[in-house]
Amino acid sequence: MSSRDIINTIFGDFQKSLDEEQEIREKIRNICKDVDQVSREITTVLQVIHHDESAISAACLTARELFEKANIGYSKLKEVVPSGDYYKYHDHWRYMTQRYCYLISLTIWLEKGILATHETVASVLGISAEELKNGFHLDIDDYLVGLLNLCTELSRLAVNSVTRGDYNKPLQISKFVMELNAGFRLLNLKNDHLRKRFDALKYDVKKIEEVVYDLSIRGLLPKTETA
């Protein structure tokens, strides 16, 4: 083989491998597009919580149905992403997964008032919570960012609940967010996106505290509780 032939062979092989990667990316992009769209639908559906108490449980039901759809999408992703390449393509679904973590934990909080664990959120999406050997999993960072987004939404909900005359929910939210806040404080975060996002949590906390204060000083707090 001449040196030119050798180069042709070498580069021909590269092309094959580049093509394969391109194809995988294309597939990932297409799946993510659909799954992302579902997440926007859920976001819209859950907006109702801010102006209609009575519609909340129905919204949760719809959200649950749509999570099923997302679950199917994630199972497609799992198939498409080669084992070991999770982090190679992570950026494609990172932001979307954070939104799902927020949406799922919000739904579960609305349903039962409890914190959705890492495992629970992962299982709703049908993926592993642990970073096993090469598997497709729910990255801890993404889960935590989702929780922080949940807190922001809940601080908004505290405000709107009061407007609606529901003086109970702010207290419930206050307790929940304070506990989460304490949890986050246990973490020794490095100086990255998660840390910055956490630093903004204090604004949500302050907002909620002031709502509870407004109720408290006007004697509007439900009696059984003393915050």
Binding site: Q47, H51, R156, T163, R164, G165, Y203, K207, E210, L215
Partner: protein, 259 residues
């Protein structure tokens, strides 16, 4: 022999006129026409921007309900002048040219116009005017011909995003003019618009960028209704609104855009 002497011979042998030079002269004319047109459009767009901003201020200036009606009428007249003036000129300017080529020249003016137009219609009828309705207003039938000024749906949506800022201002101002109903309606419109934007998919970067402002407007307007309820002792009819709580006080820039 030097390089320049060699070069001079080549330069001198150039024909004074040739098909090639002729072709470039034609090209020069085309490029100049484009530039000139673009420049005229930029100027028209700036005119529209300024007048639209002023119309919005006018609509905010009313303190009482009676004065509001007068202001709305004046605003409508001035909007008509815009439509029959610079906006029509844009349509005529682009009558025979590909409009998207110059979309960057006119987008600022169009967005601000939409903001003013939709704000006015919301105050007048408590309803938003849709893109196709606005577009219909920009059809001009003249004696010899008819022309439509193309205002893209994208510019419309960008203007609508800015509208949330004006509605938020309106809502908060409504409280101190003692109109809690107005406040409620504006608040609900801002929330509905925000929900609408949240559901959009595959939007471009410019619209995404406006989302964070829109989001802040929602927070501000919700805080206002909240204050009306908890500090103002007022129960929402189905829903109501009132003042900037303290967690908002550090962020005072409510506006978007340049001008």
């Amino acid at each position: 022999k030097s390089l320049s002497s060699v070069a001079r011979e080549a330069a001198i042998s150039l024909p004074d006129d040739s098909p090639v030079l002729q072709m470039f002269k034609v090209a020069a004319q085309k490029l100049n026409d484009r530039q000139d047109r673009h420049e005229r459009l930029v100027k028209l767009s700036r005119d529209i921007t300024i007048e639209s901003k002023r119309i919005i201020f006018l609509l905010h200036s009313a303190i009482t309900i009676e004065s509001a009606e007068i202001k709305i009428n004046e605003a409508n007249e001035r909007l008509q002048k815009l439509i029959q003036g610079p906006i029509k000129s844009i349509g005529l300017e682009l009558e025979n040219s590909p409009a998207y080529l110059h979309s960057r020249a006119v987008t600022a003016g169009f967005q601000e116009f939409i903001e003013a137009r939709t704000f006015c219609s919301f105050l007048e009828k408590k309803l938003l005017i849709s893109w196709s309705e606005v577009q219909k207003e920009l059809e001009y039938v003249m004696e010899e011909k008819s022309v439509t000024t193309m205002l893209t749906q994208s510019d419309y949506m960008l203007g609508l995003a800015d509208l949330t800022g004006e509605l938020m201002r309106k809502a908060i101002n409504s409280i101190s003019s003692g109109d809690s109903n107005d406040c409620f309606e504006s608040c609900q419109a801002v929330k509905d618009l925000y929900t609408g934007y949240l559901g959009l998919f595959s939007i471009d970067r410019e619209l995404s960028r406006k989302m964070s402002t829109t989001r802040n407007n929602v927070f501000k307007v919700e805080s206002a209704v909240y204050a009306l309820k908890v500090r103002g002792g007022e129960a929402p009819p189905t829903l109501l609104l009132a003042a900037q709580p303290d967690w908002e006080r550090n962020n005072h820039s409510d506006d978007e855009g340049f001008f």
